[in-house]
């Protein structure tokens, strides 16, 4: 493990943070172009650092590709002035992450991610966005709040944590095939559901969810039910539309006042 790795990671986050800071929407002259360049540079650095220090493994190219896609997508989610594009870029992030998960052998989680996030949650976001905001962007969207402090605090914290990646027990990490093999011979003390792993990720997940985590699973089901009821209760409530106290100065961009159906 190279001692310079943490510093490379810090630098990576610093460049990325600077890029995000510049690319955040702001009033006055846009600095999106230098911001994008810095951001792309950070993504490039990320790929370079990972490629330099990574052990050679199968599908590494796809891994870099999807990582880069996820990073760029996330950057655009944060910086794009139009909310609908934010949603779309988030879909891009989801798909990239899901592909990364497939590469990690977590197929079930990958598909679940797409079904739940892209298929349900983000459609709902788009839905709400359409209901509430017809124009592409509202005045508030093109001006960010306290960008410098936020970027400083957020990226500093995460850089500090990510810098510890060198301390992870990476050398001891077996590949998924190794896990399966170890499990088959009963040698992996912490491998969960070893015999199930052989049948593939979905079956193993099913077995884990239904045995070790069955109580958690049920609790989650109850949580979903409660959320369902809560969402219904919230949505059914008819609230009067408050008039702006000062008609000269509207409270904000007023969209449509009621659902179209």
């Amino acid at each position: 493990m190279n001692a310079s790795l943490p510093y490379l990671i810090y630098a990576l986050f610093a460049v990325g943070g600077a890029g995000i800071y510049l690319a955040l929407p702001r009033s006055g002259r846009s600095t999106a172009v230098p911001g994008s360049i810095l951001g792309l540079a950070a993504v490039g650095m990320f790929v370079a650092v990972v490629a330099k220090y990574a052990l050679p493994s199968e599908g590494a190219g796809f891994s870099y590709l999807f990582s880069a896609m996820a990073l760029i997508g996330a950057g655009r989610v944060v910086t794009h002035p139009k909310a609908v594009y934010c949603v779309l870029y988030f879909v891009l992030v989801i798909i990239s992450v899901s592909m990364l998960l497939v590469l990690q052998g977590a197929e079930f989680l990958a598909i679940a991610l797409i079904v739940v996030y892209a298929g349900a949650i983000l459609v709902t976001y788009a839905f709400v966005l359409m209901l509430s905001q017809q124009s592409a962007s509202v005045p508030g969207d093109v001006r960010s709040r306290e960008p410098f402090l936020a970027v400083l605090a957020g990226f500093f914290t995460m850089a500090c944590i990510a810098g510890q990646v060198g301390d992870l027990p990476l050398a001891a990490a077996p590949s998924s095939e190794q896990v399966i093999r170890l499990a088959q011979h009963g040698e992996a003390d912490q491998a969960v559901m070893p015999e199930m792993m052989v049948d593939g990720n979905t079956a193993a997940m099913g077995a884990a969810l239904m045995t070790k985590y069955v109580v958690t699973l049920e609790t989650t089901g109850v949580l979903l039910l409660v959320a369902l009821v809560g969402a219904m209760a919230v949505a059914k409530k008819r609230v009067p539309i408050e008039e702006s106290p000062d008609p000269e100065k509207p409270l904000g961009q007023v969209g449509r006042e009621a659902a179209p159906f």
């Binding site: 709040r145 306290e146 402090l149 936020a150 605090a153 957020g154 500093f156 914290t157 500090c160 944590i161 510890q164």
Partner: protein, 653 residues
């Protein structure tokens, strides 16, 4: 006499009116509305039925077996078995008679109110509210009467006070009614304060509160734990209890609330302030005869208060022009008679007077209500006259009631009042004289009222459609007038009522050996001794009626002349001796002034200190306010900054 039957009947007497009240209020939601008198009529009427039943059972029992104490459940347990406070009923001749009086008159009043309140064109009628309050009142009064210990008595006492407050202030959006309700409540509080202290003193002294034990211990002359009674303790207790009685029964210092309480609807006046509630004090003193008779000085006080009240109120009633007000002062005066009776060791006569008075006074009040009803709410006697053609039946019933009140021979009031005067003469000549003079006055002002209202040329206020009341109003009047005429006769052959009541109020006799009958018989042998006073007082009553006739029908110019001849006297009487003004000057104004001073102290001194204390957090808040702008993203930023610092510290450590 079966205890179980008594027990069940007592429960029903309490529960039926309560049920009526609840039903009337609850069914309001279901548009019971104009029919909400039915549950109350059935409830109170049922109570009257069972009260008669109880009286019947008590009459049918052996003389020695007529007192039944039945425990419903343990109300408050203080640990030691001796000091448990039970929810218990005491049924004896006294309470049976009281129950019958209360529930019977109440039933008639409720029936009367059905029509009276219906045509009440007050903006906020509250029909069902009125009936619910009435039923609640009957429940409270029955609780008071049936109570088997002082605690329950006190509960009934306070409930009655509450109900009277609610009913007097029934037209709560009328300022005078609200003020009258407040006044009644506050004045009663003064009395109740003493009453409560008296009960506490009883408990302190005897360690228990139920009648039987307390009276037994008094007879034995011992206090709790077998110690000797402290000197003057019983007198102290009696005085405190008297305080409550004076408040509730409107005796001399504390009578001021009763005339004002006429602000309530007329059925309320009839029910509460003539027949039932104000009799609570009389009942209580009669019930606690053992305590009162143990201290002759207090008995004297009772007698003097009674006599003074009787005379005092009668003089005021002489000149009042408001029909209900005349009746109110007459009530005060008659209550004074009852206290006089109690004070001269004639509790039986006092209770008997209470009994007859309930009938004729309720009759008079209801008749006044009928007049008021016909006159469109006007009650000032100067504004109308000669109504006997317009209101023939009301006139007849009212006349019967007036004759009873005036003590016209062989009407009910004649017997009962005469008995009290008789006993008063036996006790003290001057007390008797006061009673007699008051009786004359009573006859005078009663018939002054009758003549002013019903005789003379017919005068009806402008724009009033005068008409006789309907059968719902006339029926109770008729029934009550029968009572007013004949109620006295139950006593006539040989003082039956007194003998009936004897076991209940035997303490009066036991303490002094002054057996009521013996006392009566001691001086009453011989025709003149026995009937002379009767003849004299009957004659006086007739004379007074005649004078009233002359003054108010024949020589109508004379009352005005009299008022002119003695203007000061008239003014003083007309203004009720300026008692309200005196109270105002002596109590209310100083209190208000001291309150203002206290307020000033609170505002400038206490609040100033508090403000100095609050200034510190205020300053701190002003400094910290910027941390709480309400924008969640600022909070988030602060949070993340904190997180960053913590992460840095952890990593550097």
């Amino acid at each position: 006499m079966s205890e179980n039957n008594i027990h069940d009947c007592s429960m029903l007497i309490l529960l039926l009116p309560l049920l009526g009240a609840v039903v009337a209020i609850v069914l309001r939601q279901f548009r019971l509305g104009d029919h909400s008198h039915w549950p109350v009529i059935f409830g109170v009427g049922g109570a009257a039925f069972f009260a008669l039943n109880i009286l019947w059972m008590v009459l049918g029992a052996e003389v020695g077996q007529r007192s039944v104490q039945s425990v419903i459940y343990t109300w408050i347990s203080t640990g030691a078995a001796s000091s448990w406070f039970n929810f218990e009923f005491l049924v004896d001749p006294l309470s049976a008679m009281m129950l019958v009086t209360v529930t019977f008159v109440s039933t008639l009043v409720v029936i009367y109110a059905r029509d009276y309140m219906r045509h009440d064109d007050h903006p906020e009628r509250g029909y069902e509210r009125f009936f619910a309050f009435l039923a609640l009142f009957v429940f409270s009064m029955c609780t008071l009467v049936l109570a088997g210990n002082f605690l329950l008595l006190y509960m009934g006492w306070e409930l009655v006070g509450l109900c009277s407050y609610l009913l007097i202030g029934f037209y709560y959006n009328k300022p005078s009614a609200a003020a009258a309700a407040k006044k009644a409540f506050l004045v009663n509080r003064i009395g109740d304060f003493g009453f409560g202290l008296g009960i506490l003193l009883i408990y302190w002294t005897f360690g228990c509160l139920d009648y039987a034990s307390v009276f037994h211990m008094i007879e034995e002359g011992v206090a709790a734990g077998g110690q000797a009674l402290p000197e003057g303790r019983l007198a102290m207790i009696a005085l405190l209890l008297l305080c409550g009685a004076v408040g509730k029964s409107a005796q001399l210092p504390l009578y001021v609330w009763l005339p004002d309480a006429m602000e309530g609807p007329t059925p309320v006046s009839a029910l509460i302030h003539a027949a039932t509630m104000v009799t609570a004090g009389v009942y209580m003193v009669a019930r606690c005869g053992a305590i009162f008779t143990a201290s002759p000085a207090v008995m004297t006080v009772v007698a003097i208060i009674g006599a003074a009240t009787a005379l005092f109120a009668a003089t005021i009633a002489l000149v009042q022009n408001d029909m209900k007000r005349v009746l109110a002062y007459s009530t005060v005066s008659q209550l004074g008679y009852m206290f006089l009776g109690l004070g001269v060791y004639a509790a039986g006569s006092a209770v008997f007077h209470l009994f007859t008075h309930a009938f004729f006074k309720a009759l008079l009040f209801l008749s006044a209500g009928s007049v008021m009803h016909a006159m469109g709410g006007i009650i000032d006697m100067r504004k109308f006259g000669g109504l006997r053609k317009v209101l023939p039946w009301t006139y007849r019933f009212c006349l019967l009631g007036a004759l009873a009140l005036a003590g016209f021979p062989f009407f009910s009031g004649f017997f009962s009042k005469d008995e009290i005067i008789h006993h008063a003469f036996n006790q003290n000549f001057w007390l008797g004289m006061v009673g007699s003079v008051t009786a004359v006055m009573t006859a005078f002002y009663t018939f002054r009222m009758i003549f002013m209202t019903f005789h003379g040329p017919e005068r009806i206020p402008e724009g009033v459609h005068a008409h006789e009341s309907g059968k719902w109003i006339l029926f109770p009047l008729g029934v009550l007038s029968i009572g007013a005429v004949f109620a006295g006769l139950v006593q006539v052959p040989g003082e039956k009522v007194n003998h009936f009541l004897e076991p209940a109020i035997h303490q009066f006799h036991a303490a002094h050996g002054l057996l009521l009958g013996a006392a009566g018989h001691a001086v009453a042998h011989g025709f003149w001794a026995e009937y002379g006073l009767m003849i004299i007082s009957g004659g006086l009553a007739i004379l007074a009626i005649g004078v009233a006739y002359l003054l108010h029908v024949r020589w109508e110019w004379l009352p005005g002349l009299l008022a002119d001849v003695a203007p000061k006297t008239h003014r003083v009487l007309y203004n009720k001796y300026y008692v309200d003004e005196a109270y105002d000057a002596a109590v209310v104004k100083p209190l208000r002034k001291s309150g203002r001073i206290c307020f000033g102290i609170d505002q400038y001194f206490v609040d100033g200190l508090v403000f100095m204390v609050t200034a510190v957090p205020r300053l701190l808040g002003a400094m910290l306010r910027s941390l709480q702008g309400g924008a969640m993203q600022s909070y988030g930023l602060t949070m993340v900054t904190g997180l960053a610092i913590i992460v840095l510290l952890v990593l550097l450590a």
